[in-house]
Symmetry: C2
Subunit: 342 residues, 2 copies
Amino acid sequence: MLKNDLLLKALRREAVDRPPVWMMRQAGRYLPDFRKLKTEHEFFNRVQNPELACEITVMPVKQVGVDAAILFSDILVIPQAMNVEVVMVEGKGPVITNPIRTKKQIEALVTTDMADRLGYVMKAIELTLKELNGSVPLIGFAGAPWTIFCYLIEGGGSKTFDKARQFCFAEPELTHLLLNKITEATIQYLQAKVKAGVHAIQLFDSWAGVLSPDDYETYSLPYNKKIIQALNTSLPVIFFAKDIGFGLENLLDSGATALGLDWTIPPDKARAITQNKITLQGNFDPTKLLASPKFITEEVNKMITAFGTQRYIANLGHGILPNVPVENAIAFVEAVKNYRTT
Amino acid sequence: MLKNDLLLKALRREAVDRPPVWMMRQAGRYLPDFRKLKTEHEFFNRVQNPELACEITVMPVKQVGVDAAILFSDILVIPQAMNVEVVMVEGKGPVITNPIRTKKQIEALVTTDMADRLGYVMKAIELTLKELNGSVPLIGFAGAPWTIFCYLIEGGGSKTFDKARQFCFAEPELTHLLLNKITEATIQYLQAKVKAGVHAIQLFDSWAGVLSPDDYETYSLPYNKKIIQALNTSLPVIFFAKDIGFGLENLLDSGATALGLDWTIPPDKARAITQNKITLQGNFDPTKLLASPKFITEEVNKMITAFGTQRYIANLGHGILPNVPVENAIAFVEAVKNYRTT
């Protein structure tokens, strides 16, 4: 039994007194306690150490007052478990030592025993659930196959993932072969997370926006649907396709319980396109957290008024930035909690 | 008198036998003759030397067969003329040596005598018009104030221009002060280009997509309108707000003769939103030029069928990539020229 089940209520489209609130990337970065840990442990050590992952996951619940925890981890643990070397380079981001170029490389990827290979994640979930002690729900997550594909082909982060798109258009068969393998591994991984006890899953398609809506329907959406369908009878699935733009209407039959939105989609447009059928999550521009608490409160009020308080989860439109003062993150959360329909 | 005035006809919404075609960034990068010049002359030397700029501008007209020339230059010549030091760092892109942080810096910016300060551009236009000898129209361009602002605040390129957005929300008054100064300089600059004889102007708002549609209406659109209104009685203005997404409908009353589109906006949606009132330009995913000429031809046919042949200018959805084979660029142009309604 959860003491605070606002998130799950909003996901089940049940009536709530106020919208639940959490923040993407809330575990880490901007929290001084996290930054202390960061100097002592390298990125993937923090991810792979269940005690540390648990400690980081609960920090924002205690310190910022969010209505849900999201497990501290990384979407690139999947390629790692598939035997792809991924390193985190300070100030640069993730680097794939040998980007995927050939059929042979794709065929060599491991897609079995993901629950065991990522056993440290399951252990972290177990510890976190114990630590949270039913205070708030715990969200598990994975990257969408298209987004993982982007990193594997590009070899790291990019503004536009030109190489990934080029690979699609020049090598469509290899593209689908690789996307299928990532999908297979991801389903196993997320099913293991469900078994470990998470209350909801979020699927992050961070690079949805580099594809045209037509190409998104070819190279991303079918794989996300497959994952969502493998999960959504067990628990709610939030699908966040960043910068999906005009492709939003195609996500309506994705099977997702809720859709995450970035700040480029106006709330009224999102409600109209999704016919008010589905719970929406988002979409505060994260840089607004770098302005004054007064400005943050005003902008949060506008946002909630535009989305409505029901079938809505207050969140950012992308991850919180590392340089946000903790008091501003708290101002965001408090503004949601204090919102009253005027 | 122009021998090929297809572009101007499409801009005037007159009937054409086929759509005109040109490519953003067509002057340079992927052309072997340009790369030869590149080894001998630094970036801003090429821009500032009228003979070189002229030579580069006409290359794609002769070698690829496009229906319009666009003057080889850079949007950052405006901040340079305003006394901001901008350097081009190989492999990194533009760097602003002293990013704008203070009111004092903004007040020190020069906004007068842009025609003289950018006299080398006017000289390049004069030479190019002579060299083109009426074969195709010549397009002049500038960056939108918001996009220039992004570079000035951020200090260079960025995936998301977080610092620029942060500055808006934290310092709205300074933001408008700076945007006004950029607008003032840009209007003088473009009016001088019109006087020098260009046939059309394109305004590039390359970073439109980092703002929510609401914030775009505050921090970008009013300044673009001001520029367009200062020009559109003299000549056609193409307004390209990359990744504008759901903000597209707000551009309808911008005063622009045509709207440029990136590949994330489906042609049918763009036609519906713009009520078929305005000429549209775009929107081929530039990475598709890295696939086979057969694929390029098929995709171009789909694109033209979707937009229709009238009130349409075939183009890419962003600049051509440096690694595109010249024969693929030619395949794109030829596919447009050979398109016949089926």
